[in-house]
């Protein structure tokens, strides 16, 4: 019936003759596939959610990671050029501290060149503690100031010209009013509302508070008061005892402890030095730990960790890992050979100072770095021995 002309009718008949195509599968198989498929449509949900969550995490983390690399890039640049903004800012601030301090010395010892040298040094990174060579014939005073949350005491040191006709105590009391606690990010605590008299015969200090004193109101008040006076006296003298008076009567009324007449000075030793960053500051204070440590190794171990409760940050983070820590006589030996990416920046300098101050807490007098990838760290020459600081956290009061 091959032909070239087709009528509609013939086509329709042909179409009707088209064979029936059947599905030869078993209906049970079809049904089973069906339930499989139904489940399948749901199974993509879980991986889908996982992918969504992963993407979300990705988008949260990636900007941080980019920030992170920027940061290290910045700090890498800081080392090379001093033209970087953030580093400059903090360095400038620090240099003013140091430079003003230098300028404040009325003595001839400071020449213009010295000042320039100081400026250059601070453009890189500066030391924050007081060292022998900074003092010359001047007087160092250390004040223990509560942090902004009144949780810890931060020792802050100032250097003043020595006045032969004045005792250390008179100079200490005189300069209380000059402290700039709030500017430094600490609590406004000084001048203390009391008078102090030196009793050289008994090697003690008489602390006289007025009748309406507020140092006994509340347990934090009284502990920080006793601790502050104790530490102030300990850091600036060899006095062993405090005698308390209220107006002319012996003793001081403290809410919790009751009436206290005498207080034996408790030595501040075997503490570890941590970083305390005041609000908005990039330069940390070096603040001693709340507790004490049985040896320097356990102190160093703890100095890697943060203590957020007291806002004390790990101070050895930038000097990790320390190796071959040994003590010989009054000298601490330590090696930096395992610190692969040791940087010559301000925080690493601060870390090194935390190490020095902690060494001092354990009665040591100098630190020798046996091996180090860097020969110089800020102002420190690591190839030579380093004497422990005279006092921590040098600040300017002018």
């Amino acid at each position: 019936m091959k032909k070239s002309e087709w009528s509609d009718r013939e086509l329709e008949e042909l179409l009707m003759q088209m064979p029936k195509i059947k599905d030869h599968r078993d209906p049970r198989d079809i049904y089973q596939n069906l339930s499989l498929k139904k489940r399948k449509t749901k199974t993509w949900l879980l991986p889908g959610l996982a992918v969504a969550a992963a993407l979300l995490l990705f988008f949260i983390l990636v900007p941080k990671m980019i920030d992170g690399t920027n940061f290290s890039y910045d700090s890498a640049n800081e080392e090379k050029s001093s033209g970087n903004s953030q580093a400059m800012k903090s360095a400038e601030k620090d240099s003013t501290i140091a430079m003003k301090d230098q300028a404040s010395i009325p003595n001839k010892s400071v020449s213009e060149t010295n000042e320039k040298k100081m400026g250059l040094m601070s453009a890189a990174s500066i030391k924050t503690a007081v060292y022998d060579e900074d003092v010359t014939d001047r007087k160092v005073l250390t004040y223990w100031i509560p942090d902004s949350q009144v949780q810890i005491l931060v020792p802050v040191s100032i250097i003043v010209p020595a006045e032969k006709d004045k005792t250390w105590l008179t100079q200490f009391v005189d300069n209380m009013a000059n402290l700039k606690e709030e500017e430094w990010g600490l609590s406004d605590y000084y001048p203390l509302k009391l008078s102090m008299n030196l009793d050289e015969k008994t090697n003690s200090v008489d602390v006289v508070v007025p009748d309406n004193h507020k140092y006994g109101q509340g347990s934090t008040e009284e502990t920080s008061f006793i601790k502050t006076v104790n530490n102030d006296v300990f850091s600036n003298s060899t006095i062993k005892k405090l005698n308390f008076f209220t107006n002319k009567e012996a003793g001081i009324e403290l809410g919790n402890t009751g009436r206290v007449k005498n207080h034996e000075i408790i030595e501040v030793k075997q503490h570890a030095f941590f970083f305390h960053f005041p609000e908005g500051s990039e330069l940390p204070f070096l603040a001693p730990s709340i507790g004490t440590y049985k040896d320097i190794n356990s102190a160093f171990e703890d100095m890697k960790t943060n203590n957020p409760t007291y806002r004390l940050n790990g101070s050895l983070e930038h000097l990790q890992p320390l190796s071959d820590v040994t003590v010989n006589g009054k000298t601490l030996f330590v090696s930096f050979k395992d610190i692969i990416d040791m940087k010559d920046d301000q925080l690493t300098v601060a870390s090194f100072e935390a190490l020095l101050l902690t060494a001092k807490q354990f009665g040591l007098e100098k630190v020798i770095v046996k091996e180090s990838r860097l020969t110089h760290l800020g102002p420190f020459d690591l190839t030579k021995e380093t004497k422990v600081p005279v006092a921590p956290n040098l600040r300017d009061i002018h």
Binding site: S4, E12, R28
Partner: protein, 183 residues
């Protein structure tokens, strides 16, 4: 097995399968698609209002499934490429012809091949009208069209088929002549 499934299978499975097969012209695809039809049916079975017969309702679902299948098959890239590549228009049927067709007489094979040249809508009308033996009204319901649209589409598709049949007759004539010459 689900009683709903069993009932639907008994009554309509082969019709729906046949419809899908002639639409997509491939058994494996038709097997997959018929499952998809069941899934869609189960999803919306509660919403089936009985306005149309179950059969026309199933065909309308099957047609949508087939349309979706073609959409998925052709990504936008292929669609664009196809527009520029004119040679593909002439070699479109890449699927093997099933045994059920190959055993038939020559004309049936021709018309099966010629169906390829119809559009989706034209093919759907041909299948429903002549293979499933639905009336114009039933076809209109299954496709969601007016009856006159069914009629015109049917008329056009027959015209295309006629033209293609004549072309394949000519080709066939030419090849048999060639064979004759060789002898």
């Amino acid at each position: 097995m689900d009683s709903v499934f069993e009932e639907l299978y008994q009554k309509y499975h082969h019709d729906v399968f046949q419809f899908l097969f002639y639409m997509v012209r491939n058994k494996e695809h038709a097997e997959d698609l018929v499952q998809e039809v069941y899934i869609r049916v189960f999803k919306s079975y509660d919403r089936f209002e009985g306005k149309s017969s179950e059969k026309t309702w199933l065909f309308s679902i099957a047609r949508n499934v087939a349309i979706d299948f073609f959409r998925k098959q052709k990504g936008w890239k292929e669609k664009i490429l196809e527009k520029f590549d004119w040679s593909t228009n002439h070699v479109r049927d890449e699927y093997p012809i099933p045994e059920e067709i190959t055993v038939q007489k020559e004309e049936i094979k021709w018309i099966y091949k010629c169906l390829e040249f119809c559009t989706m809508d034209q093919r759907a009308v041909i299948i429903l009208r002549y293979l499933q033996d639905l009336s114009i009204a039933e076809t209109a319901k299954a496709l969601g069209w007016t009856e006159s649209k069914v009629k015109t589409t049917q008329h056009r598709s027959l015209k295309i088929l006629k033209k293609q049949m004549e072309m394949s007759y000519e080709k066939e004539g030419v090849t048999s002549e060639k064979v004759g010459v060789e002898r």
